[in-house]
């Protein structure tokens, strides 16, 4: 098995590394979303595992155990949130020792209350101790100090769970491994954004996703291995596409786009480039470094002001020299609904044509239908403006 095969296998089976860790007597802390400081979890001696959803699940557990608890206007959520909540209810994550739910978008933070209430109403449901990681969204210093306190509280809770203090040494080490991971992932991003690209978006998403499903040190080793022979990767032809819109924890959308012969050279969501392109910075105390990323530079798009989210999106598209942008916005993803038109305008102002797909299904729906829509759009783009001249050394 090549390093890439191993990385793909972890993405395909998100429980694999965590279960192996458990088998050796370790404990697993699940967390939702990107902005939970996983370095703290690792420094406490736990296995940090980002929760993901299953695009094949039908959401039955959510309908049965959660949606019955509240009036229907309280329970609307985008499909990716339903998919994660479903797995937390249906026993898939029954092996978790602890769970951290951050205050991100409403549909995510609601999972804390939903799980608590569902377990109370249905004691037979799998249960583990939970921690609610609060966060102030506004960007002022007042919020920054509040958010620092929340990171300190999380540290204290992890220490209780571990029965031991988290030492500064352990924290420095975890941050160093995490920063190395981000630096290596930046090289992965550069490979796919190269002219011509040497990595498909589908592979990139699997590689990036695996970083949140494995021990970071193991992931780093695989990345180094993979990058060592990256020069021999075949060059990819076809249009360069930037993918914006809702967070997506599976590869089907990317797959449907790349089935047209295009390459997704970058994306703007928290399961992709956004999860590593703003590394933790020093010099400061490790806690303040983590708190500062939590407050100022989360991969989460729920930040203020909107202009910063939009600028980040446009910057990523420009850095990847995309020929075209596709925004895939899920049904009920209301925050993305209000963000995307400004992002489309910003990207088009830079000369990049875009396709805004609204109210889409989490699982991607019929892949051939999506491929057809994308192919039609890309054909129109190519007709409008011939692609930039192939860079030197491109395939003849």
């Amino acid at each position: 098995m090549t390093a890439l095969d191993v990385l793909r296998s972890h993405h395909a089976d998100p429980h694999k590394a965590a279960l192996a860790w458990k088998a050796k007597g370790g404990k697993v802390v699940g967390y939702l979303c990107d902005n939970v400081p996983d370095e703290l979890i690792a420094a406490a001696g736990f296995f940090p595992l980002r929760i993901s959803g299953d695009p094949d699940a039908d959401g039955q557990a959510v309908r049965q155990y959660v949606d019955t608890l509240y009036p229907p206007d309280v329970t609307t959520r985008p499909g990716f949130a339903t998919a994660m909540l479903n797995r937390l209810l249906d026993g898939t994550y029954g092996y978790l020792d602890f769970l951290i739910v951050p205050h991100n978008r409403n549909a995510i933070q609601a999972i804390y209350r939903s799980l608590r209430d569902a377990r109370k109403a249905h004691p037979e449901l799998p249960a583990c101790e939970m921690h609610y990681l609060d966060k102030a969204w506004s960007s002022s210093f007042i919020s920054e100090t509040y958010n620092r306190d929340q990171v300190v509280k999380l540290k204290a809770k992890l220490e209780v769970w571990a029965g031991a203090a988290i030492t500064d040494d352990a924290l420095h080490a975890a941050i160093a491994v995490g920063n190395e991971n981000k630096a290596l992932l930046a090289k992965i991003a550069a490979l796919r954004a190269a002219t011509p690209p040497r990595l498909s978006g589908v592979d990139a998403l699997q590689i990036i996703g695996a970083s949140m499903l494995m021990a970071k040190a193991d992931h780093n080793a695989l990345l180094r291995d993979f990058l060592a022979s990256a020069d021999s990767l075949p060059e990819r032809a076809g249009p360069r596409v930037f993918l914006g819109g809702s967070p997506i924890d599976h590869t089907r959308i990317c797959q449907a786009i790349e089935a047209t012969g295009a390459t997704v050279v970058a994306e703007d969501h928290c399961w992709g480039n956004r999860s590593f392109d703003l590394p933790v910075e020093g010099p400061a105390s490790p806690i303040l470094e983590l708190a500062s990323r939590f407050h100022r530079k989360p991969a989460c798009s729920i930040t203020f002001p909107l202009s910063e989210t939009v600028a980040g999106c446009a910057r990523r598209a420009a850095a990847a020299a995309a020929d075209a942008a596709i925004f895939y916005v899920m049904d009920e993803d209301w925050s993305q609904n209000w963000e995307t038109p400004n992002e489309v305008r910003a990207i088009e102002a830079n000369g990049t044509p875009s396709l805004h797909l609204k109210q889409q299904a989490y699982d991607g729906g019929d892949p051939s239908a999506l491929t057809a829509v994308v192919a039609e759009f890309l054909a129109a783009v190519q007709k409008r403006a011939p692609r930039r001249a192939p860079a030197e050394g491109a395939t003849a």
Binding site: S138, Y146, L306, V344
Partner: protein, 410 residues
Amino acid sequence: MSFSSAQTRLPSVDAVRTHQRVWLDDTRNRVLAGEHFAICNADDFEEVFTTFGIPSLVINYWNSVVTFSERKGDHYDAVLAEHGYVPNRFAHGFGTALDPSRAPWGGLPKPTLIVGTTRDEAQLRVTELWAEAFGCECYPLDFSWVSQFSHELPERWWEFHRDRSESMLDLARVDLRLEQMKGLIAHLEAITGKAFSLADFRAVMERLNEQMNYWEMARDLVAAARPLPVTLRDQMALYQVTWQRGTPENLALVKAYYDEVKALVAEGAGCYAQEEFRVYMATSGNDPMYHGYLRERHGGAIVSNRYACIAPMYARTIENDDPLRALAARQLFLFDKEPHWEVHEAKRWGADAIFGIEPEGAPPSRYSEVCEAAGFPYLGLPRDADDADIRARIDRFVDTRLNARAPAAQ
């Protein structure tokens, strides 16, 4: 006992509507003359603006004017769609800034700032976009509709509002909110050149409490009277006074309503021709479309709903001479859509049944279980519509659950 036509509006409720219109005209003129104006969410920062003498418009109120009073929802859905958005009702106000030509009452003047709401992330974005459209500042305050429930509510939480509100809250969040409010007050002082007076603010908060006392007294009279003296529609229309809290004008409006209710009860006036049975609506909607059918076909009267019952929850006792903290705490928790509370209200209103909204084909909900366990037959309808399917469901429910009951002991 006398019955008025169900279509007549109470003069005191009409006065509320008139007041709102006059207020908006007056506000527009003041802004044209160079005064400040602000937009904020329903339970956000209004009392502070009132203290500053800055007129402020509540987003939900303006949306309901656009959508319900003026029926321009379809137009503004189209405007939002044209701009690339999937439209929703919360954004209708923002829509009026994108197309002021069709805005109700001549549209809104440009505000000095919009208080950005983090009630949920989508609302935050809408307030930001709205500010962008106006070319004004968006100043967000942190509060999330969902995070309040990270702190478990005590049982019978609806009894805690006035005097024990902090025991329902995460105190770190109250401190955060208080800090942020002070930050915005200082910002407003700098922008307007006015000083914020804590004493004036306390007077606003006390007046608000008095306003809610009258509301509560009126509500208790309406709920206890047989027959029902005030339509659900009028109860809901009165809710507009909660969009301006703690002003002498709104206190006077509620007091006038209370006086009118007292007189109606004294003369035994009823607003519906029949009241064979009483229904409480566990919903956030308006008077439902099928209410006419329910009355005419079955003689059933919908006597109240959730929103007609939450207004008094705005009142807060001021402790330790700290009205700002009282407000901060209130902003973090007003109410929960929770069946035990709705049962409590249904009892207050002497309801014989509770209606709610249930998605088609869903398993039995906690709402239905709690209501039924408390002895209230519960009907979950999939939507607020007056069509053959809804009528059939109502017929079936009334026949099997209400008419089949043993006659109540006299």
